[in-house]
């Protein structure tokens, strides 16, 4: 049996980009390209982590996992665990004799509230209260293999999967009860955790029926699932699971966790990413009580019995570094053009020259997008424990299985010897794909033979993680007198190829992505390069509309065939009052749209620019979003509004400042992020189409806000801006073309 048929790969939208090699800092490649061999085959060619994993059953496990880290020492030995292939129910779901349902998934909760939505879909098919379900997430020993929680993939893949798992289970329970009662299955129904005989009202609880036995039965991919129009639990604004633990401060993130005998680890950091260690004097640290110094070539770390001591110890180390010459912010975009790879990653449609000949008007422009940081509320943290040759690491990551691979590769040990657990993390936004802290903690723990917790400072999180790529985008386009786009030439330098293509009808088009060896570690950030590509594209579309005196909404509708895209544009425009309201003096309106990860978004924004101070203020935002069937409307609204607010940062003022490769603003007092005062009234219009499959919603809602604001500023002042961030100091200055 070819297991590859059953594994869910994210489908790359622009498959023509082939990375030269799997760069360690090209984190985004893990997300974007299906040719990721890591995890499919082990070094000896056997198929391990993709298919085989452990599942421990029994009523106790849910309590062990949820109650806290101290129970770590009571966790079962690997030999006690049973293995199930991921096409079996037992890999994903278990019903205890007490009726409690445990669901297993390799996906992780990072604040997008999938723990709740996945619970809802299972509860729906089994008709049980949400409270009776415990989700075990992101534990490489207990949950099915998962490539990572990213790419807006959870809802379209795992939600669908768990729906089928739960529905198949329901059918199995009905079959079992029918046999037990020697009656027809059609007379039975599920309700409140029981099978009920509609004829005589006899009932039996699920747990009593299964007696807590594992459900070793294939998942029926054709099982009948409950239509969304009939949902009673899914599709509703169910409260966030674990909400009470969070609001009371009881919920623990990795940085909160403690183990007996644990010591605190700190790593010596270079002044810039591309520095090399020349020399280091660790004498003071060595002499400190309870402190151990770990030194492996350029890697120097310390452990201390408490956090303060570890900090004192690392700060006591005097080191000399070779700092290589690196670009500064002012020259970065020239640097991109200069260093662009000669490889031509190009997508061609039609004939560009003919397209330009057919154009009434043409427009050329360049757009720049700065490096920005994810700024997750909780910096990276990891807690590592060696028990003989077996390593367990708790860490905040979107890819527990990926981190396991990293650890296996680093230590040269088999993945079965490593367990990575993701208890929850204080947000990620694509910034926690990599396991730096996990490797650091594990290295120190191996050296000192004690559990080690490494918690990064905010500064370390800015400098030593990875950034959202900066980008330079050049567009040359032409349109006919009636507004149809006849020619489109698009070059993206460094940002990425996500969102390079769009739904606009462009008969003559070339899109190009130029790869650069970025001076900074860069990787996935919510929506990847689609933010940059949509900012440039939508801004250019708005300029073209203006060039031929056409309303930007009409221009878009003219060049779109996709009905869902048009519907979502009209929905946003209607809610905003695009057609029947006029901006007041010093006010402006802007509109933008995007299609990404099977989701459709359209954003309208109104700004006001103070004529004396030039300060820009966002007056209101209306955003329409279509992701098919909605699982939890309240949490979806949170994702939409949250993405818009985060997007405001990148649109208006967020930027990494750097000189000679050194980040100058690696602190929250220096790097501005959106706060309460920055938030305008935001109206989210959810297009809930209950007959369409569910798409993800974690990313696409961020795409419209930057170009919509840019257009609103032009509308208010006539000033055209070509940079993200648009107004770093809050004020609109004269047009600055890159």
């Amino acid at each position: 049996m070819n297991y590859l048929d059953k594994v869910n790969f994210p489908i790359p939208r622009t498959p023509y980009f082939k990375p030269n090699k799997m760069q360690v800092h090209e984190i985004e490649n893990i997300e974007r390209h299906s040719t990721d061999k890591n995890g499919i085959e082990s070094k000896d060619g056997s198929l391990i982590s993709r298919r085989r994993f452990f599942n421990y059953l029994g009523g106790g496990i849910a309590v062990v996992m949820v109650s806290g880290p101290l129970q770590a020492f009571n966790q079962p030995k690997t030999s006690q665990l049973e293995r199930f292939d991921d096409d079996q129910i037992a890999a994903w779901l278990h019903i205890g004799e007490d009726g409690k349902i445990t669901v297993f998934t390799g996906k992780v909760e990072v604040g997008q509230n999938i723990r709740t939505s996945l619970t809802q879909i299972v509860a729906e098919e089994l008709q049980v209260p949400v409270q009776s379900i415990t989700m075990i997430m992101g534990d490489t020993d207990l949950t099915p293999y998962d490539r990572g929680t990213f790419g807006s993939r959870t809802t379209p893949t795992i939600n669908t999967k768990l729906q089928k798992v739960a529905a198949t289970t329901r059918e199995i329970l009905l079959d079992q009860a029918a046999e037990k009662w020697k009656t027809k299955k059609e007379l039975l129904k599920v309700s409140g955790g029981k099978i009920v005989n509609t004829k005589n009202q006899n009932s039996i609880e699920y747990g009593t029926l299964t007696k807590g036995k594992k459900i070793v039965h294939p998942i029926d991919v054709n099982v009948k699932v409950t239509p969304a129009t009939q949902w009673k639990i899914a599709g509703k604004p169910e409260q966030k699971v674990d909400a009470e633990r969070i609001i009371t401060g009881k919920h623990q993130y990795v940085s909160d966790m403690k183990l007996p005998e644990m010591v605190y680890g700190k790593i010596l950091r270079a002044p810039t990413i591309k520095s090399n260690l020349q020399s280091a004097n660790v004498d003071i640290a060595k002499s400190m009580d309870g402190v151990k110094v770990v030194r492996e070539k350029d890697f120097i770390g310390v452990t201390g019995p408490d956090l303060q001591t570890a900090i004192k110890a690392i700060n006591s180390i005097k080191a000399e570094w070779n700092i290589s010459e690196q670009p500064s912010k002012g020259e970065i975009f020239d640097y991109f053009k200069e260093k662009a790879s000669k490889e031509n990653n190009q997508n061609v449609t039609g004939n560009l020259n003919q397209g330009f000949e057919a154009a009434e008007k043409t427009l050329k422009a360049s757009y720049t997008i700065d490096y920005i940081a994810h700024v997750p509320m909780e910096p990276r943290a990891a807690l590592a424990l060696w028990e003989g040759e077996k390593l367990t690491v708790w860490t905040g990551t979107q890819r527990p299985f990926g981190v396991r691979e990293e650890l296996a590769e680093h230590f040269g040990i088999k993945e079965e010897m490593i367990r990575v657990i993701m208890p929850d993390t204080g947000s990620a936004f694509g910034g926690k794909h990599s396991g730096e802290a996990a490797i650091e903690a594990a290295r120190l723990a191996k050296a000192v033979q004690k559990p080690v917790k490494v918690v990064w400072t905010r500064e370390e999180e800015f400098v030593w993680a990875y950034l959202r790529p900066a980008g330079l985008i050049e567009i040359n386009a032409g349109c006919a007198k009636d507004g149809t786009i006849t020619a489109w030439e698009f070059h993206n330098y460094n940002s990425g190829d996500a969102g390079l293509e769009s739904l606009y009808t462009m008969p003559n088009k070339t899109t190009n992505f130029h790869w650069i060896d970025s001076p900074f570690k860069q990787g996935s950030y919510r929506a990847l390069a689609a933010t940059a590509n949509n900012f440039a594209r939508e801004s250019h579309i708005n300029e073209m509309a203006r060039m031929i005196n056409m309303d930007p909404l009409e221009f878009r509708l003219k060049n779109l065939k996709d009905d869902r895209m048009k519907d979502v544009l009209n929905a946003a425009a209607k809610a905003f009052g695009w057609k029947n309201r006029k901006p007041a003096e010093n006010h402006g309106f802007g509109i933008a749209c995007a299609f990404e990860k099977a989701g459709y978004v359209a954003t309208c924004a109104e700004v006001v620019v103070d004529p004396t101070t030039d300060e820009v203020k966002i007056v209101r935002v209306s955003e329409a979003f279509d992701c098919g069937t909605v699982i939890n409307p309240h949490h979806l609204e949170g994702q939409i509004v949250g993405a818009v607010i985060q997007g405001l940062g990148g649109a208006l003022f967020e930027s990494i400042d750097f000189e000679n490769g050194k980040i100058l603003n690696p602190k929250l007092s220096q790097y501005r992020v959106p706060r309460f005062k920055d938030v305008p009234p935001i109206e989210a219009i959810i297009v809930d189409n209950k007959v369409l499959p569910s798409s993800g919603a974690g990313e696409t809602p961020i795409l419209g806000i930057a170009p919509a604001i840019r257009e609103a500023i032009v509308s208010a002042t006539g000033i055209k801006l070509y940079t993200m961030p648009l107004v770093p100091n809050g004020k609109v200055t004269k047009e600055i073309k890159p």
């Binding site: 990072v110 409260q239 940085s255 909780e378 204080g426 905010r458 993405a643 985060q646």
Partner: protein
Amino acid sequence: MELTVNGIKHQIKSDSKTSLLNVIREELNMTGSKYGCGEGVCGSCTVLLDGNAVRSCIVEAGEASGKQITTIEGVSESEKLHPVQQSFLKEDVFQCGYCAPGMVMSAVGLLKKNASPSEEEIIEAMNGNICRCGEYPKIVKAIQQVSQG
């Protein structure tokens, strides 16, 4: 050094110059208050000192001696949750939840001073707390519901 946290006196071994956040999280094992920035600008570490919301990461433990320290673990005075916590639950605020304790403590501090703040006053008072997930509108609404309820 002696610190009174949530009504209970503790003998503290840490140096008096250690941050209050550090003492609470490490020595007293109360991890509800969070580290977010270490420089008092994100609000994750907010506790009350004699009823005033402060950023415990930039308060020296010694400064808190002799004062009533209230953390998220002790903000509800009984078995029931504090009205702010109840309101946050009712509004189902929070995505990743990391900023939650700090938000609650800042809100409690605000309402102690101003029982019916206007929306502008709420935004002004809460502006020192960051929520990167962008739950700001729901948080404002939740606080408004407390003062109205």
